[in-house]
Amino acid sequence: MNKEETLLQLRNIVKPYINNEEAFENFTEDTDFITDLNINSANLVDIILDVEDHFKIHIDNESMEKMIDVKSTLEIIETKLAKKR
């Protein structure tokens, strides 16, 4: 899976939680979940669970704390996927 594909899949996972359509249209690596997409901070835990289910990975507490924007989330997904291989 290349980075573009992962980004697209993450975009689909995040979609139900967003509160800013415009920012979502411009979903890039630099997008922040809370400041750009206006996602309710409580929903970040739901996004993490959805990411776990989708990519069949386990995200530890330390990684979870970092998953507040697209860039760090992509990095964590890639690291976890690499470990699986």
Partner: protein, 424 residues
């Protein structure tokens, strides 16, 4: 001058009708909402029938976002939010998207438990060491104040937002608490009401207590039989009822329809002393509650046209009639009309007082007394106290002025409301 409190909006989610139109049609025509319950049958309950409102996914989406319905598993919050938002709309109130909450409006929306199915789901996850996978809404769905919290957010309420809980008195109590809040000038408008979860995990304890009927598993619509000789226990039910209570001046200024005036009422407890226990009412307290409600409302016992009773369809029904008769000093043909909505919807537990009060307010506003079903074989003990003509078995079209509504609950708690047709 002291403030007057009126009802300007109604909402209802009942086993025999969701929404005011369906519910009004059902109660006028004696339509039962009691059905065979496959869950209770599978789980080998003694009582395998129940009263559950039917809510489609489509209807839910009018009140909740798709996101809110993800992993949502709380029937009580579902019913309460539908009834509450319906009442708000019925009172012609807008849902503002302003930054500032509505400081003058609040809610007292009661319940016995919250999200009991969500709670069960969570407990299983925790025991499987999956606490981290509970999701973000396990707390909001299972905290007792979940229903008032959801409503407060949807309506932008900025006054008191709270949930009361007093077993089967909850609904009547919520109306009185909201009334007091407005009466004392602390709010102009309060959404009152109550809700109850559905299903085996809320009803199991009652089945174990042997207070539910097991004789009508094959004849569900005949199962709930208040005041009948063959009453053999209550039928578990669920749902929600809601009311917009408003300061009269505010209501008049808005030019909105006024359903009824809340004249007053009373809540008390028998203290589980005398004949009162955790599960049985102290008759002295019940009578005192009714008398104090009448005094508080500033009316006379003779002014009451009709009573909406608690009357659950257990052997205690005749005791309730006797308590009313003693408290009012009225017997035989001199007794007011009396009916029990439970004959059609079962016992909606923490929602009973509010669902039944919606029926009472509709009666006042439209001028009718709904029929009692399933009491063709009237209990002779009841017949010895009050005249059979006072227990309508058919719809009566009649102008009414004052209704007394009472609810009694576990913990030996009582509540009685006095409602009046609104006149200048």
């Amino acid at each position: 001058m002291s403030r007057r409190v009126v009802i300007t909006g109604l909402g209802v989610v009942a086993p025999n009708g969701v929404g005011l139109d369906a519910f009004t049609h059902a109660i006028k025509n004696g339509i039962s909402g009691i059905r065979k319950d496959p869950d209770l049958e599978r789980l080998q309950f003694s009582c395998q029938i129940s009263g559950k409102p039917e809510i489609s996914e489509e209807l839910s989406l009018n009140y909740f976002t798709e996101l809110e319905l993800r992993n949502f598993n709380s029937t009580g919050i579902l019913y309460g939010v539908i009834a509450g938002m319906d009442a708000w709309k019925d009172a012609d109130l807008p849902i503002l998207n302003s930054e500032e909450p509505d400081w003058d409006s609040g809610t007292i929306f009661g319940t016995g438990t919250s999200g009991i199915d969500k709670f069960r789901e969570s407990i299983y996850k925790i025991d499987e060491l999956q606490t981290r996978r509970l999701g973000s809404t396990a707390v909001a769905q299972t905290m007792n104040s979940g229903v008032s919290a959801y409503l407060g957010g949807k309506l932008g309420l900025g006054n008191q937002v709270s949930t009361n809980s007093s077993a089967c008195t909850t609904g009547a109590e919520s109306i009185l608490m909201a009334y007091e809040r407005i009466k004392s000038g602390q709010a102009n408008r309060m959404l009152a009401g109550s809700t109850s979860d559905s299903g085996p995990y809320i009803w199991g304890g009652f089945d174990a207590l042997r207070v539910c009927t097991f004789k009508h598993n094959e004849s569900p619509e005949q199962g709930s039989r208040p005041m009948s000789t063959s009453a053999s226990g209550f039928v578990p039910g669920s749902g929600a009822g809601a009311f917009v209570l408003e300061d009269l001046e505010t209501a008049l200024a808005r030019g909105v329809r006024i359903y009824a005036e809340v004249l007053g009422g009373n809540v008390n407890s028998g203290g589980q002393r005398g004949l009162g226990t955790m599960t049985a009412p102290n008759p002295i307290a019940v009578q005192k509650c009714i008398k104090d409600a009448i005094a508080h409302a500033g009316i006379h016992a003779d002014d009451i046209d009709t009573i909406n009773g608690h009357l659950t369809a257990t052997t205690k029904d005749s005791l309730e009639i006797e308590n009313w008769s003693e408290a009012l000093g009225r017997r035989g043909i001199d007794f007011p009309y009396i009916n029990s909505l439970k004959s059609m919807v079962g016992h909606c537990l923490s929602a009973a007082g509010s669902v039944e009060s919606v029926a009472a307010v509709l009666q006042l506003h439209q001028g009718f007394i709904f029929p009692n079903i399933n009491c063709e074989d009237l209990n002779p003990e009841i017949e010895s106290i009050i005249d059979v003509l006072r227990i309508p078995r058919k719809l009566i079209e009649k102008e009414l002025n004052i209704i007394a509504k009472a609810s009694f609950g576990f913990g030996d708690v009582n509540g009685c409301l006095i409602l009046k047709k609104y006149t200048v």
